[in-house]
């Protein structure tokens, strides 16, 4: 038997006590939804997980009213130190229930348990711990001596990092003294609903956090339009972001948008080659490439192109695609049929436009949604796959000759979310970083996240920052200026 045929090592799902159906979590209670319910499935097997109630416009109104009442009567009157206690309690509960949350996320999203266990859930806890610490220190957030909460925050999150995106939104909002109405993505509501349970367990006052699964065009639209909402925070596609911006234009609502990206990962000739290859893999194949800040455009200095591509494809040969619950799986399932179709179509366009396609030779399960890791070489800057966000495990490789060319090509995109620089020359690293127009720039690493660091984009990648001290400003106003 081949050593590399690792015996199955599935994470047990017994820790996860699922209900047959889940309602909406409004004002500390589970209630039925007015829109037609939806069955969330596991994208790796297409098996149903649970029946999920969907919120109607009326439900959204109830949720916003509950959040408003909680804000007026409890949360806005509570001291920062006391709000911090709740957040610390939530953070600890997340750590205690980490395995359960990891299993739920993997089941519902399709991403490997190795990532939910080692990346998603630890970061979720870290985010709550970080912002718990800020709750009683808002006067030092750089917004003047007496910053004020905005009120009710409406938050709409995507399916790629369901619980992590919840944490990015809920933790700073609560720390800053806002109450929230959060709509998880249609395909991945499960961990947000478990989070509602954690809020109950933490004794969080009713109505401070409301979770309302639902369709974007119904619940999402109603939340964005609701006059009782003071702030909208959205992470998702640029198209939806644009429509949200149009909807709230001319209102008092504050807005942060974290949208798409087409991140450039720039590898110079003097890079630490083996680590750069690891970084390329992490940049585009982490979370099946369902990452807005993915390094989907690889810019390689021409004189090391062949060596890098050879090492990269050889390294990709060791990736293990399959059951996301298996602890040895590197590449899980694509989140939905819809996304799979989109990735497939874009990859086919890449081929028809003349790029050279390399696909990992691996078996894919019969059920579920799967896409083999794919690398395109000989990609021209004008090709669709070099311009559009694919949001899947597809890498486009382009070349450059000089640092100036690399900077120009990296910046030549309507997006501006992330970039990576690989070089052992520190002065070049700093100079190139200075010239790149992207919100997050990683040097000699990629896709690293930390609650202390702000995150956000330029241009069509959105505006506003999440994370760190900057992340608080999205949920606070300068009290004196009002």
């Amino acid at each position: 038997m081949s050593f590399l045929e690792y015996a199955p090592a599935p994470e047990s799902t017994s820790i996860l006590k699922l209900q047959k159906s889940y309602g909406l979590f409004i004002n500390g209670e589970w209630v039925d939804g007015g829109d037609k319910s939806y069955t969330t499935i596991s994208p790796s097997t297409e098996k149903p997980i649970a029946e999920i109630a969907h919120a109607s416009a009326k439900d959204v109104d109830r949720a916003v009213s509950a959040a408003r009442a909680a804000y007026d009567t409890v949360w806005s009157r509570m001291s920062g130190a006391d709000r911090g206690k709740y957040l610390f309690r939530i953070a600890r509960l997340i750590q205690e229930r980490a395995r359960e949350l990891a299993v739920a996320e993997t089941l519902d999203n399709g991403k490997p348990i190795r990532e939910t266990r080692d990346v998603d859930i630890p970061l979720v806890a870290a985010w709550f711990f970080h912002y718990a610490g800020w709750a009683d220190k808002l006067e030092w957030a750089g917004l003047g001596p007496n910053p004020k909460a905005l009120g009710v925050a409406g938050q709409i999150i995507p399916w790629n990092f369901p619980l992590l995106m919840l944490a990015w939104k809920v933790a700073p909002a609560l720390a800053a003294g806002n109450t929230v109405v959060l709509k998880p993505a249609e395909t991945t509501p499960l961990t947000a609903l478990l989070f509602a349970d954690i809020c109950q367990q933490a004794g969080l006052p009713d109505g401070v956090v409301n979770i309302i699964p639902g369709r974007g065009e119904v619940a999402g639209q109603a939340l964005v339009e609701h006059p009782g909402v003071n702030k909208i925070a959205f992470t998702g596609s640029t198209a939806v972001g644009r429509s949200i911006a149009r909807t709230i234009a001319g209102t008092e609502k504050k807005l942060t948008l974290e949208l798409g990206g087409k991140g450039a990962n720039i590898v110079f000739e003097d890079a630490a080659v083996d680590e750069a290859v690891e970084g390329i893999v992490r940049g585009i194949f982490f979370n099946q490439g369902h990452v807005c800040c993915a390094g989907s455009r690889l810019l390689v200095q021409e004189n090391v192109h062949d060596e890098i591509v050879e090492k990269l494809t050889r390294r990709l040969g060791t990736l293990r695609l399959g059951d996301p619950l298996d602890k040895n799986t590197d590449i899980g399932a694509i989140n939905s049929k819809e996304q799979l179709d989109r990735i497939t179509a874009l990859a086919n366009t890449g081929e028809s436009e003349g790029a050279e396609r390399w696909t990992l030779d691996c078996e894919i399960p019969t059920n579920g949604f799967w896409f083999r890791p794919t690398v395109f070489t000989n990609v021209a800057t004008s090709n669709t796959i070099a311009r559009e966000e694919i949001f899947g495990p597809v890498l486009s490789v382009l070349t450059f000759r000089t640092a100036e060319e690399a900077i120009t090509k990296a910046n030549n995109t309507p997006y501006g979310l992330s970039a990576g620089i690989w070089t052992q020359n520190a002065s070049r690293m700093l100079r190139v970083a200075d010239e790149l127009r992207a919100g997050v720039i990683w040097a000699n690493t990629f896709n690293q996240f930390d609650p202390t660091s702000p995150f956000g984009g330029y241009k069509e990648s959105g505006y506003g920052r999440e994370g760190g001290r900057h992340g608080l400003t999205a949920y606070l106003s300068n009290g004196d200026a009002r």
Partner: protein, 393 residues
């Protein structure tokens, strides 16, 4: 020439050539005239009592200090002199420590269960160089070590043998004798590895290092674990490091044309940086190493997973460059099955499964074997036993 005269000539020759006495001093010692001493020395040369030979080729110590001694591997890669050696090594892409350690940490999360674990445990045993390197080693201790190497677990005859025993040079004869017909190359039988070259510090003359190596080979060692001159490496004297490996490799040659396999110990704990370790790995391979080995076990840190991953990357790159496979041996500090399994994962995923053979991968370890045996027993019986259910050697 009478017997008494040739005796006298021999004594005079000793004093003159061995003890560097002048003819006057010899005359005084032997109570004869200086002229008589001169005649006796001529007589000694003419009669063959003294033979003088002048070497046409450079002595080892001369060869080790004038440029580099090119090897077929180095020449094929354009390394023919000190400058090209330096150029080759400094042009290697550098190593990003954080990235390398992250890669190793990710490899360490692989979950090896059930039949995979069972197979992994047996593989580990087959790859162990069972080692004793103590000042207190005795023939009895070595004999006991060999017995354990042959039958690691008497309670379970399906237990495989280890690859080799590893001892000091003066213990080689005892290991060879104790093995008898069971001696082999690691796969055909148990190999006898000997450390040599003024192990562990390597701080002696090249002549002594070569004599140490030849002694071990003559005693029957089938593998030599040499140490590089870390002082020379750190001071930038790459030629000395290179040449010493070349000469020790020559000293591994046997009369029949075969050679004792050469493992080159880099002592990564003293080289400190990953860049140094990478360069030393390439240098050792270019100079003729059959294996590159992390550590002596006498310096901390000894083997670490990131260091081993780095060395596996080097042998993988060498293979893609030349088609030739070089072995890797992490040594020191690997005590538990769990850790050893992580190394197997690194070998398979970084270099390739082909490396999981005694010819290409070894664990230098002493206490690891017992932990593997305990894990093995647990898998067979379903119960954990305890340290008294495996033997202390």
């Amino acid at each position: 020439m009478s017997n008494s005269e040739s005796d006298l000539a021999r004594r005079a020759a000793r004093l003159y050539y061995d003890d560097n006495k002048t003819q006057d001093e010899i005359g005084e010692i032997l109570d004869i005239t200086r002229w008589k001493v001169g005649r006796l020395l001529s007589l000694a040369r003419e009669s063959g009592i003294v033979s003088i030979s002048i070497s046409e080729t450079a002595t080892p110590s001369e060869r080790a200090t004038t440029g580099i001694i090119p090897t077929p591997r180095s020449v094929a890669n354009g390394v023919t002199d000190a400058a090209s050696l330096r150029g080759f090594l400094t042009n290697l892409p550098s190593v990003d420590a954080i990235g390398l350690e992250a890669r190793a940490a990710t490899l360490a999360t692989r979950s090896i269960k059930n039949e995979s674990k069972r197979a992994a445990l047996d593989t580990i045993i087959r790859l162990v160089d069972l080692t004793t390197l103590e000042g207190a080693d005795t023939p009895g201790k070595v004999k006991s070590l060999v017995a354990k190497a042959l039958v690691p677990d008497a309670s379970d005859p399906t237990t495989p043998r280890v690859a080799a025993v590893c001892v000091y040079p003066d213990m080689v004869e005892h290991a060879v004798r104790a093995l008898g017909t069971s001696i082999g190359d690691g796969e055909t039988g148990i190999s006898v590895a000997s450390v040599a070259t003024a192990f562990p510090s390597g701080r002696s003359s090249i002549d002594i290092k070569l004599a140490d190596t030849r002694f071990a080979v003559d005693q029957g060692a089938t593998e030599i674990d040499m140490v590089i001159d870390r002082g020379a490496f750190l001071s930038g004297d790459l030629e000395t490091v290179f040449n010493q490996i070349v000469l020790v490799r020559e000293a591994c040659n046997r009369a029949d044309g075969s050679h004792a396999h050469l493992k080159v110990i880099l002592e990564t704990g003293e080289l400190r940086t990953y860049d140094n370790i990478k360069r030393a790995s390439w240098l050792a391979i270019l100079a003729g190493a059959d294996f590159i080995k992390t550590s002596t076990g006498k310096v901390q840190p000894a083997a670490t997973l990131p260091t081993t991953v780095l060395m596996l990357e080097v042998v993988r790159d060498w293979f893609h460059l030349t088609g030739e496979r070089i072995g890797v041996k992490p040594a020191g500090g690997i005590r538990q099955s769990k850790d050893a399994i992580r190394y197997l994962v690194a070998v398979a995923e970084v270099a390739g499964e082909e490396w999981l053979t005694p010819h290409l991968f070894r664990f230098g370890a002493s206490s690891l074997l017992n932990d593997v045996l305990l894990q093995r027993q647990k898998m067979t019986t379903g119960r954990y036993s305890g340290p008294d259910y495996v033997t202390v050697d």
